[in-house]
């Protein structure tokens, strides 16, 4: 597994792109995110972990500008982005959880990826040659160019994920948000998707924020892990976050002491 370790030393991390400052978001019944303070730098790869219902997806939706803070603030590219059509939104690519996409929706691969251009093209205008070129490029980046005329529903789960990643890339994003990108996909394909994400992170210099319940999968990829359960319990390199006493606060002491995964992860780092 050595080859997929992040190279902390040689990876350039620029200025902060995303700043949560005591960010709280409440639903009617209580907080989904509470007092989150977090800075994410340009070019970082952040893994967000935590149990089910811990606010991982809500964190991504906050970055997308879909939910306003109840308290505190969130700035992206130094902008508060409360404006509905803030142009920054188009610079954030998003892969939602797989079950949000209807596999029977009558749409081709090319039409799906072209949707990623909708924000950039703007109202009252139609996709032009340049947009079709960008779509082709995005499909090439994910290795799906030859499928462009196929119906989305006819593809395998892993191929659909690639197409949806291409849609995010067609936005020419600076930030890529991925919500459980490998859930519900067979193991070899999971590996391909992760390789692809890492390639995009390195070669396109994308800031990646990947949400996963699978600590094993994400730990070797991310520069830093964020451990979330409504509050941010820990943020830092995997070897600092994946400690028994820290994980126990979120997952409960029994879950961690009997968690073979924790041992496995520490094995990787020794």
């Amino acid at each position: 597994m050595e080859h997929i370790h992040p190279h902390h030393g040689d990876h350039y991390h620029g200025k902060p792109l995303i700043r949560f400052d005591h960010f709280t978001f409440r639903y009617l019944h209580g907080p989904a995110l509470e007092d989150i303070t977090l800075e994410i730098a340009d070019g970082e790869f952040i893994g967000v972990i935590g149990p089910n219902g811990s606010g991982k997806t809500t964190l991504l939706r906050a970055i997308l500008g879909l939910i306003p803070p109840s308290q505190g603030s969130l700035k992206i590219f130094d902008c508060a982005c409360q404006e509905l059509q803030c142009y920054h939104r188009a610079r954030i690519g998003y892969l939602p959880q797989k079950d949000t996409v209807d596999p029977d929706f009558p749409i081709t691969v090319e039409e799906t990826v072209m949707m990623g251009r909708a924000g950039a093209i703007g109202l009252f205008r139609w996709p032009g040659k340049a947009d079709r070129e960008i779509v082709r490029h995005a499909l090439e980046d994910v290795g799906m160019a030859e499928f462009c005329a196929r119906p989305l529903g006819a593809l395998s789960g892993g191929q659909q994920q690639r197409v949806l990643i291409a849609r995010a890339l067609a936005q020419h994003p600076q930030i890529l948000l991925l919500d459980e990108p490998t859930t519900g996909i067979d193991a070899p394909t999971q590996h391909n998707i992760l390789d692809l994400i890492q390639h995009l992170h390195r070669d396109l210099h994308l800031t990646v924020i990947l949400v996963s319940h699978d600590i094993h999968m994400i730990a070797p990829l991310a520069d830093r892990l964020a451990l979330l359960k409504t509050r941010l319990y820990a943020i830092g390199p995997a070897k600092e976050v994946l400690r028994k006493e820290i994980l126990a606060q979120v997952y409960g002491p029994e879950a961690v002491t009997t968690d073979a995964g924790h041992v496995l992860i520490t094995d990787h780092h020794h």
Partner: protein, 273 residues
Amino acid sequence: MPDPLTLSFFQRALLAAALTGGLCSVIGVFVVLRGLAFIGAGTAHAAFAGVTLAYLVGLPPMSLAIAFGLATVWITGLLEERGRMKLDVSIGIFYTATMALAILFIGLMKSYNAEMYGYLFGSILSVTGEELLFMSLLAVLVVGLVMLFSKEFFFIAFDQEMAEASGVPARRLFFLLLTLVALTIVVSLKTVGAILVFALLLLPASTAYQLTSSLRGMVGYSVTLGILVSCVGVLLSFRFDIPTGPAIVLLATGLFFLAVAFSPKRARRVAPA
């Protein structure tokens, strides 16, 4: 028997059918894909309540039909967005409440009004020249706006939150889409009636959904089917002296089941990968 095509009322009916069929099937694509079918049903009945009130107080029926229709889609749209109430519940309440209003308004009338029932059951053979003109203008407006915002409407239908996140003003456009649904229903009231307009909104688009795996394909099939069943329905109704609305809707229903039976999507699923 004289050639029906030389009769001007028949030509008007055919034209009205083509307009209604084409319009309902265009907007129906988004209704089906975005899951707004039930809103269509509720709106049709609300619009009919508007018609009855207009007859009661002596206003042009279309004006209150539009007002009631728009109020219904906007309120249900807001309720859906807020997530305060399940959509089927809020629509169910609207549906019955507006029907109750319609029955109340009818009960308050001094005399029986046959014309008004045309809006409930459809009376395409009595469409007047002015009504046709009004329908054409609304149809041009609705189709024009759909074409103008087609890429956004498709995105909203595919994944509204994603569209919003990508910088598309998805919320405002969703309400525009609801507005167009309401206008389409009002336009179609006279032709197929409040009860059956819902079917014309759903059936051609659902049939098209079975036949294609691309967005363009779905619009193409839907419009073709919508115009075809409406015009053939009028011809059948004239030829066999049967009510037009049911003729159109039953024809569309038959085609729908044929499409389900022979859907290439189904074939694809059965075939080994």
